[in-house]
């Protein structure tokens, strides 16, 4: 346990230093910003997939809900931006609560069901009939609260918080009960584990991560469209980064995001289809030969991965 605490502290401090220094070393601040956003999303996916086995293809629905939550709270209700960001996260939690019956589904049903749910949210937000509230498909402009540096650090805080949440879950009885549910809900219930409640709790926590990330993302970019914050590619990237690094670990999603998002920035921005080809092949190779992700290479050698 003590050893875990030390390595966890090192990871958190390391992340903080990395992203505080990154804008000084790297000319384009938005690159480390997006990396943080994806890392936070990957940790959110990790909370759900890594500990319960639910793989939410529609995870971006919460990200978009967070972004639009902020825009409605700021533009329509004139909240100041920090409460609005938290409110945006809570909007995602509310959406997740509404969608919690999806947890009755398992495997592919859940994955595709969640994808359908996020598309429904997208079509509602982007519908021209919703113009009074969400501006429909025409996008929103948060120029009034635009603050790239503050929002950059807000994303860092969110990343650190949810990395810490993963650490907590991984080392707690709660996390153990989730792993038990993942393997066999019936046996878990016979251990006295409240299966339904624990699943819902982690589902809401995961949605909160995506909602906050989406909210800060909306604040940072300040101009966005439904098609940009509900883009399925965001779900796909976050899932692939998590799977690549390895779910159920603290480090997996971090390593996965650094490696793959780094790769994306080298080749993906100019020719996204080559990047898509590479990560598509990576997934195939991963499933065939390394289904537990990159960090499992270390685990196989008996090295404890935080």
């Amino acid at each position: 346990m003590r050893k875990n605490k030390l390595s966890n502290a090192i990871i958190l401090v390391g992340l903080a230093i990395l992203f505080i220094l990154a804008p000084l070393l790297y000319p384009n601040q938005s690159v480390p910003f997006q990396m943080m956003a994806y890392m936070a999303l990957a940790q959110g996916i990790n909370l759900l997939y890594g500990f319960t086995g639910y793989l939410p293809f529609g995870y971006v629905g919460f990200f978009g809900s967070g972004a639009y939550g902020v825009s409605v709270l700021v533009l329509l209700l004139h909240w100041s931006v920090i409460p609005a960001v938290i409110g945006g996260g809570l909007v995602a939690v509310a959406v997740a609560l509404l969608l919690s019956p999806l947890l009755r589904l398992s495997g592919a049903y859940f994955s595709i069901g969640s994808l359908a749910a996020s598309e429904i949210v997208y079509y509602i937000v982007s519908n021209p009939n919703m113009q009074n509230i969400t501006q429909g498909p025409y996008g929103v402009n948060l120029a009034g609260v635009y603050a790239p540096n503050t929002s950059y650090y807000a994303m860092l805080v969110i990343l650190l918080i949810f990395t810490a949440v993963v650490m907590y879950v991984k080392n707690s009885t709660f996390g153990m009960s989730l792993l038990a549910i993942k393997e066999d809900p019936v046996s878990a219930a016979m251990c006295g584990v409240n299966v339904v409640r624990n699943r819902v709790v982690i589902w809401l926590a995961s949605a909160f991560a995506a909602g906050l990330a989406g909210a800060v993302y909306g604040w940072y970019v300040s101009v966005f469209y439904p098609s940009s914050v509900f883009d399925l590619t965001i779900s796909i990237f976050a899932i692939v980064f998590t799977l690549f690094g390895g779910g159920g670990t603290v480090l997996g999603p971090i390593v996965g995001t650094i490696v793959l998002y780094g790769l994306y920035n080298t080749i993906g921005v100019s020719s996204p289809q080559y990047f898509q080809l590479i990560y598509g092949l990576l997934i195939v190779v991963l499933v065939m030969f390394l289904p537990q992700g990159l960090t499992s290479l270390l685990k196989r050698r008996g090295i404890n991965v935080p």
């Binding site: 398992s106 592919a108 595709i112 359908a116 598509g280 289904p291």
Partner: protein
């Protein structure tokens, strides 16, 4: 009233076509219990095949269809032996297959984008032939009617295979219980490989029809087609081919009625139907009993 009738008849024409598009996905699931998330991408490839055969080489879509059936069958059998036996031995085949085919879907989409670009391509609707039908004083375009007829024939052939041939009966045994089937001396791997080939061949047939039924084709359309297909088979009931036809009709009718009366919300139809069915009756309209969830 005539608007309503037009919507209903078109809904049925489209519904049967959508059944064809989805039935391969359902067939593969029924036999192997895996969800081929690249199904829509194979439909997309079939569509591009028809497009280039016609525009570059002047090949009639029906000839392309026969050629594609052969090619996709071989590809399907090869793909099966290459990956699926290994997957089925793993701890969690259903989840891993979902992720794996998601990867394959990304690879196909990327390669298609490199080869075909991102702009939609279209084919003249009369390339399938002339067969206009008058019904209730309304004219229905020949591509819709021919697409409907081809779909009926393809689904009928699948039915004949499953119920009238020796291999088809063995396939149904595998669908019912893989282990029992193996214990009764059925070569489960060979049956499944052929089933996967047939599933892709059905996707190819639907693909050739797609430009005529749905209009513009582009590489990233595959994801939408997969979700639509998945919705249809969940509506019908997963693993039950007859259910797919019901699912396709429900989907086609709902879509066309929404487009007629509430067009700005029509895009949501497959997703809303999917969620409703999943939550209200997860085993589908024709499903028996409940699944463990």
């Amino acid at each position: 009233m005539s608007t309503f009738l037009f919507a209903v008849v078109s809904g049925i024409l489209f519904g049967v076509f959508f059944s064809l598009m989805a039935i391969g996905l359902n067939f593969a699931f029924g036999v192997m219990k895996i969800v081929n998330l690249a199904h829509g991408d194979f439909v997309m490839l079939g569509a591009f095949g028809a497009y280039y055969a016609l525009t570059v080489f002047g090949v009639n879509p029906f000839a392309t269809m026969l050629l594609e059936i052969a090619v996709f069958l071989v590809v399907g059998v090869g793909l099966y032996y290459g990956i699926i036996p290994r997957l089925l031995r793993s701890d969690d085949p259903e989840m891993l297959s979902l992720i794996l085919f998601f990867g394959i879907s990304q690879v196909i989409e990327a390669l298609a984008t490199l080869a075909f670009g991102t702009n939609p391509v279209t084919l003249p609707t009369n390339a399938l032939g002339q067969l206009s039908v008058q019904l209730f004083g309304q004219a229905f375009g020949s591509s819709w009617v021919i697409g409907f007829l081809v779909s009926v024939v393809a689904i009928g052939l699948l039915y004949l295979y499953l119920y009238k041939t020796k291999m088809g009966i063995a396939t149904r045994a595998v669908m019912a219980n893989r282990n029992e089937a193996a214990a009764s001396g059925i070569n489960v791997n060979r049956i499944s490989a052929v089933a996967f080939g047939i599933a892709l061949a059905l996707a190819a047939v639907a693909g050739v029809l797609t430009p005529f039924m749905l209009g513009g084709i582009y590489p990233s359309v595959g994801v939408n087609l997969t979700i639509t297909s998945f919705s249809i088979i969940v509506i019908g009931s997963l693993g039950n081919p007859v259910g797919t036809v019901v699912g396709g009709l429900v989907y086609g009718l709902s879509l066309l009625l929404m487009q007629t009366y509430l067009s700005s919300w029509a895009n949501m139809v497959p997703y809303v139907l999917l969620i409703l069915i999943l939550l209200i009756k997860p085993s589908g309209l024709l499903g028996k009993g409940a699944r463990n969830a």
